[in-house]
């Protein structure tokens, strides 16, 4: 359970494609392994069954062939007995008649026979083919085949392979034979006597039957008699020489069917088949390594196919999962772009229907958002412009009110010249203020405006101060925001000079500093403490104005920054009792350039 949770947790951290690939692959691999294991097991079972059946079939076939061969030999023996011996009176007919008939029989079966012979019950030869002269050293009655024939007279007896050693053989050829002997009844002068018929079968006949038997790569068949003596073995001579070993003594007691045995460290499957009449046993030997190698090859082939199938499935899984996951990934990437406020990001519409639908919806949503954002920006810009206009428009009523108030006061006091001067200055002031509705005017115009203003104020303040305006010629045509210097001069008058008894002085300077236009308004008023400067700059403690145009320090700074950016604005230098200097820093640009720039911003 914990493992499952761990896997689940781990999968949750992985990508969709990885999860899909892994899941599909794991399921496919498990299924394929189970199938391969099942088939492999079936291969093994069927291979073993096939091997057993094959061995049985081979042994059956071999048994049939051997049976035919032995039957043939028995038929020869029967023919000798029933067709020749039974029809012959050896005393009356003589051995020559028998010999002639035996010769015919021998010639007919020469390929499988070495000799056929008849012996009397005391071991004397009566007739034989093809050779008839016994070796002097031979005593047939002492031979095993003779003894066995006489022991069980009703049976046919098959010997183990031995070298035929009865007859004199002038060509020095020694044959390996299997002897078939039986006891027979012969007629001699009308009397029944016992004798023995011997059929020496050429061992090559049995060998031919056995040697081409196919029992797998290293399997073979051998024959043992009931005592476990070898009748035939493909390595018979080597077994006799002690070079090769066989488990034939033990195999002789095996029952018919299949057995497993381990001999000299080798596990072998033994199939046993009993040969009729003889008591011989056919023993089929199949090393299990032969059987296992057959199914190992098949199993290996199966597993290789399974591995390639797994590889193919992995490939297909990766391909399919990438096809499924990629559109989702692209969608996710697009959403991330949107999260980064890139509303222009295009959302690819690929993949399945559901994903395409989702992408379309998202795209539509993004487009709507962008439209809304654009609308908000336009609205905000419009609002800002309105504010700017409002700020500028704040100047006129206040100043007009104050100036007109002064003029009224002058007329009331019959100071008509002064009133004329003020009205003239006011008229000029308004002309510049209007400036055809432009926000940007030249430094020269602004300074003229300031001078007109100072003329008016000087009258109003009864020449309590003097002023001085200086400007470098090169900056006169540079751009400045309309009514940006005048409020500073106004502040100098109201806050610096108003409460002075006399000798007030206001200096206005315009000059170029590096790439900037600097306009300074300096007074010799009471000055400000550091705290006051800080309060002024931060806008927190600006003294409440009761008079003047109402356009303060912040108004000017806001307008400069609104128009030219935050790199520009106002600086204040002041010391108590030393006076105050306010420095306006503006870009050194022409009116046209400023208007262009301003359009971009406003």
């Amino acid at each position: 359970m914990r493992l499952w949770k761990k896997i689940k947790k781990s999968l949750q951290r992985r990508s969709l494609q990885f999860t899909l690939s892994l899941t599909f692959t794991a399921v496919s691999v498990v299924v394929l392994i189970v199938v391969a294991m099942g088939y492999s097991g079936r291969f093994i079972n069927s291979a073993e069954k096939m091997a057993i059946n094959n061995n049985k079939n081979v042994l059956n076939q071999m048994n049939q062939n051997l049976d035919n061969y032995l039957h043939n030999m028995m038929n020869i023996s029967n023919a000798m007995y029933y067709s020749i011996i039974k029809n012959t009176d050896f005393e009356k007919d003589g051995a020559s008649k028998v010999t002639e008939q035996m010769k015919l029989l021998y010639d007919e079966n020469a390929s499988s026979l070495v000799s056929i012979s008849i012996f009397s019950d005391d071991g004397k030869i009566i007739a034989a083919q093809p050779l008839s002269r016994l070796k002097p050293s031979v005593e047939p009655a002492e031979e095993e085949w003779f003894i066995r024939a006489n022991e069980k007279i009703e049976n046919l007896h098959f010997s183990t392979p031995h070298v035929e050693n009865l007859f004199v053989n002038s060509d020095n050829i020694y044959h390996w034979v299997v002897s078939l002997s039986r006891s027979v009844e012969m007629t001699r002068a009308g009397t029944i006597v016992h004798g023995v018929v011997l059929v020496d079968m050429n061992f090559t006949g049995i060998e031919q039957i056995c040697k081409n038997v196919d029992l797998g790569e290293s399997g073979y068949v051998y024959i043992v008699d009931s005592n476990g003596e070898l009748i035939y073995h493909p390595n018979q001579q080597l077994i006799y020489a002690g070079v090769f070993h066989e488990n034939h003594k033990k195999a002789a007691v095996y029952s018919e069917g299949s057995h497993m045995e381990t001999f000299e460290g080798q596990e072998r499957q033994i199939t046993v088949k009993t040969v009729g009449y003889t008591g011989w046993k056919l023993i089929g030997v199949s090393p299990t390594s032969d059987i296992t190698s057959a199914y190992t090859q098949n199993s290996q082939f199966l597993w290789l196919v399974a591995i390639f199938a797994i590889l193919t499935l992995v490939t297909v899984n990766m391909f399919v999962s990438s096809r499924v996951a990629n559109p989702i990934k692209q969608l996710e990437r697009s959403v991330r772009e949107l999260e980064r406020n890139n509303l222009d990001a295009r959302i690819p519409q690929s993949g399945t229907y559901e994903i395409r639908h989702l992408a379309k919806t998202l795209q539509s949503m993004a487009d709507n958002m962008r439209q809304l954002m654009d609308d908000i920006v336009i609205e905000q810009e419009s609002k800002r412009k309105s504010e700017m206009d409002a700020l500028q428009s704040q100047i006129n009523p206040h100043f007009l009110y104050n100036t007109l108030d002064s003029i009224v006061w002058m007329i009331e006091n019959e100071r008509y010249d002064g009133a004329i001067t003020m009205v003239t200055a006011l008229a000029r002031l308004f002309r510049i203020s209007l400036s055809k509705g432009k926000n940007i005017i030249t430094v020269e115009q602004e300074l003229q405006h300031v001078e007109n203003y100072l003329i008016i104020q000087k009258v109003r303040y009864k020449n309590k101060f003097i002023y001085n305006i200086e400007a470098e010629k090169s900056v006169l045509h540079c751009a400045v925001i309309k009514l940006s210097v005048q409020p500073l001069v106004e502040n100098s008058i109201y806050h610096g000079l108003e409460f002075m008894d006399g000798d007030g002085e206001i200096s206005i300077r315009a000059y170029q500093r590096d790439t900037n236009l600097v306009i300074e308004v300096e007074d010799n008023g009471p000055g400000m403490t550091k705290e006051q400067i800080k309060a002024l700059v931060n806008g927190s403690g600006e003294p409440k104005r009761t008079r003047g145009s109402g356009i303060g320090f912040h108004n000017v700074e806001e307008r400069i920054q609104l128009y030219f950016g935050n790199a520009y604005g106002l600086e204040v230098e002041s010391e108590p009792d030393e006076g105050t200097l306010v420095r306006a820093r503006l870009p050194l640009i022409s009116v046209e350039e400023a208007e262009k720039k301003g359009e971009g911003r406003l």
Binding site: H162, N172, W176, Q237, L238, V243, L311, V314, S322
Partner: protein, 323 residues
């Protein structure tokens, strides 16, 4: 999809496709066992007698171990130079291993040692003697013990007061030399008078030499080593009824010798299991080729007279059961 992932998918796809094609298009062939070319350099002009049986054993092993066997005669008489040349020639002909019934010669030994560093060389039946070396693998019976056993048998046979004649021929081959020495040592140890008669390599001259030898009244017991000499000795005795009283003993195995044994021409023969020698020599060569350690198997031998010929054990020794 990244380029890397595409490459992986492509590689897996190609791999899977190649595998499927390989398994569907190519037939499944079982591994074929390597066929070894092994040359057998034997003594004499033709593989006869013992060499014939050795060759039969070799052929059985050749069938079992997938060997293509080439037989090469080193001629008569034994010629070390010729064996040297044949060794080089077989290497040049691309033999994977060489089996040689070598002449006991230093030159042959050196050549064998030289070749043995490249391909396995097995000395079969006869070998080159060198003190304190056992690097060259050999397959042979204990010929000295066989000689001694024969000597023992001779000692038990009959009256040996007139001594025993040992035919000295073919002792340039170690097996014969060892058999000769074993018999001689045994007889000498029993104080039997021994006459050594050397016969040359010329087989045509043997009959006359043996006839002359048998006509000597003193000659009553003759011992010969090697099938050809023993067979010739038997032939000479068979042709002259006066020689019936002469006892012939020897080591060798041909059908004619067995016939002489059965018919009392030859009294006793010593036989080793040459079939096994042939089989084991090929098997050991293959084992060496496969990088396995060759096995040392004892080669059986037996001393047989006419009465024991057809015991099951002697039958199997005298008449190899050749499939």
């Amino acid at each position: 999809m990244t380029r890397k992932r595409k490459s992986i998918i492509l590689a897996l796809g190609v791999c899977a496709a190649a595998g499927v094609i390989a398994f569907t298009a190519l037939p499944h062939r079982p591994e074929t066992e390597e066929v070894y070319q092994i040359s057998y350099i034997y003594r004499g002009e033709m593989p006869e007698g013992v060499q014939q049986i050795i060759l039969q054993g070799m052929e059985q092993a050749a069938t079992s171990f997938n060997v293509e066997l080439t037989t090469v005669s080193s001629g008569t008489p034994a010629d070390a130079k010729k064996q040297e040349t044949l060794l080089k020639k077989e290497v040049d002909n691309g033999a994977d291993a060489i089996l040689i019934e070598s002449v006991n010669s230093d030159d042959v030994r050196k050549e064998i040692e030289k070749i043995n560093s490249e391909i396995p060389v097995i000395e079969v039946n006869s070998w080159t003697q060198k003190e304190k070396t056992g690097e060259i693998h050999k397959v042979h019976a204990d010929n000295y013990a066989l000689g001694q056993k024969l000597g023992e048998k001779i000692l038990g046979q009959s009256e040996l007061s007139e001594g025993v004649v040992l035919i000295k021929s073919g002792t340039e081959y170690t097996d014969v030399a060892q058999q000769y020495k074993g018999t001689k040592d045994k007889l000498e140890a029993s104080g039997i008078s021994i006459e050594e008669v050397k016969v040359g390599a010329d087989e045509a001259a043997h009959s006359a030499a043996f006839l002359k030898l048998m006509r000597k009244p003193k000659t009553r017991h003759i011992v010969a080593f090697g099938s050809a000499v023993l067979e010739q000795l038997g032939k000479v005795k068979q042709e002259e009824p006066d020689f019936n009283s002469i006892a012939i003993y020897g080591i060798g195995n041909t059908n004619q010798i067995i016939n002489y044994l059965e018919n009392g021409i030859i009294q006793v023969i010593g036989v080793s299991n040459e079939y096994s020698i042939g089989y084991l020599s090929v098997r050991n060569a293959v084992k060496e080729l496969r990088g396995e350690e060759p096995e040392n198997n004892e080669i059986r031998y037996s001393i047989i007279d006419a009465s024991q010929m057809y015991t099951m054990e002697n039958q199997r020794l005298l008449f190899p059961f050749v499939q």
